[in-house]
């Protein structure tokens, strides 16, 4: 059974890239469009990895990461934060929220896939 990646991303075009990329790499992709959806999906779909955008409606990626990592039964799921805010404090903020890896947008799909593979193989 293929590994499941939860993609939290509010932009359809960016979701499509990941859809194509993950499908090609043989992963199953679950989608959430905002932070709240991410929390529900993390609990109900039990993904093997979460790709978390930061700028999200309702609940931002930092907060969603923090809440998932606060739950003992979900804490083990690796979270890769993807952000287009390349401000110098962003990486520290993402790490502080508890993420496992950090990728700045625009990302190289090749490198993103390498990061995902590192956690799932």
């Amino acid at each position: 059974m293929s590994k499941r990646v939860l993609v939290v991303e509010d932009q359809e075009d960016n979701r499509q890239i990941l859809r194509d990329l993950l499908e090609c790499a043989g992963y199953e992709m679950i989608e959430a469009h905002d932070g709240e959806g991410a929390l529900i999906a993390a609990r109900t779909q039990s993904p093997d990895l979460i790709l978390m955008d930061i700028q999200l409606p309702i609940l931002d990626g930092y907060e969603a990461t923090r809440r998932i990592k606060a739950q003992s039964d979900l804490r083990h799921i690796p979270i890769v934060v993807v952000t287009s805010y390349a401000l110098s404090g962003d990486e520290q903020k993402a790490r502080a929220a508890g993420c496992d890896a950090y990728v700045a947008k625009p990302y190289s799909t090749r490198k993103l896939l390498e990061t995902i593979n590192r956690y799932l193989t």
Binding site: Q11, D13, N14, I17, D20, L21, C24, Q55, S84, Y85, A86, L87, S88, G89, K105, P106, Y107, S108, T109, R110
Partner: protein, 531 residues
Amino acid sequence: MNLEADPTSFLGQRPLSAAPRASGDGASVKDGLLGFELRRSLRTKLLIAFFVIEMLLVSVGVIGLLSLREADQRANQVVGLQQKIEAYRQMQHGALRQLYGVSTALAFPNETTLAGALRQINQFGYDLDRVSFVAKDEVALLDQVREEYARFIAVVSHIVDLIRNGRAAEAKQSELAELGPLADKLERLTNQMVNRAEADMVAGIDASRQTYARSQILVAAVAIASFVLTLVLGHAISRSVIDPVRIIHHGLNRIAAGDFTQRIEVANRDELGELAAHVNSTCEELQQLYRSLEEASRHKSQFLANMSHELRTPLNAILGFSELLLDGIYGDPPQKMRSAIERIQRNGRHLLGLINDVLDLSKIEAGQLRLSLADYSVEELVSGVYISVESLAAEKQLGLRVAVPTGLPPARGDERRLAQALFNLVGNAIKFTDAGEVWIEVEAQKDSYVFSVRDTGPGVDEADQIKIFQEFQQVDNSITKTKAGAGLGLAIVKRIVEMHGGRIWIESRIGHGATFSFLVPARLEQQAMQT
């Protein structure tokens, strides 16, 4: 996106004349000099001060003249008394000679001695007249003398007549019985007058001496008082001018240093008070202007940060899909399509570089960029840059050479930002050089490193050498027009170097290439203040 900022506040369009003018403000401050409630101009103050000083000088002169006059009067008095005394003595002398004349006439009764005795009478009358002239205030005594003298003359005339008539014995009798006592009485009276005059003279000399002493003290006191008063006045005047000037000077220094919060407080109500009020109102205008500029600058930085974020999102899709296409996820693309996708990707990356530059600059300007200081190796930094520009230089068939001293101790700074700075300089050198070589050199100086990038490009005109470090500036000539670029690279390099407390400069001549160098401290422990 956050673009609702009011465009007018952006430009800080505030009429400069809106701030209140100075004229009314001066009236509320108290006058320091002499406590006048009236509004006085500086000229009036100075005129008053000089007038007071002149009046003091005049009063010293007047008091001196008055004292002189009094001394003169006293001297005249003493001279008068002396004359009086002399006249009295003359009179006494006259009376004695009279007696002598009569005695001679009695002893040798002939016409000569008789005439001599009578002549003495005339002389005595003359003396008496003189006395009456100098001793006007002793009328009673003088009348008594005159009365006695009249009787004396009468007796002398009688005796002379007796002698002429040969009645010598009778004359002798009369002399002894009448003339002697009368002469004694006259002498007593004149003695009395002399004594009185002498007493007056002693008193006069005494008074004169006292007057002199008094005048001396008075003149000295007034002179000293004038001196002190003049000093005090001069001090007060100079203070009322210099103090406010000094206060205004300090205030202007503060304003020049960018502190608009304090107002200049001057107690004057003269021209200087007006000047201070004027400076204050100008300071307020400046403060408002400064605030609106600051606000505009903040808006600009925020706008740029938002904008670059918004631009990155679609760019992510462009770069992402083109990468997936090239990786053959949607099937292997034919060669022509592959080269088109590569162009999309290359241009997308270029666009991303520009957006990153804008974001960097806006972060630096907004004060959001903090250096992350850590130890780094200069050799590694340079070789990292070398690796990333190697292919660019090879594409243009340019030589790329590196000269870094070996065995340098670890440096301290923001390695990523310094690499970005060096990368920008080398990237520019490659971009603008069509043939020849590009050198990357590092020189270790005392406590600092100098990174230099030398090229064989077109060079930079002296007039443009300052301009190129400003954002959005590119040297405007036919050579550079053919090269793409937003003109942000050097501005970013300059900011990064300055944040490290270093400096950047260029040495170049048109047609002889250019050398860009920057100096940074070898070990930076704390980020330099941003200007």
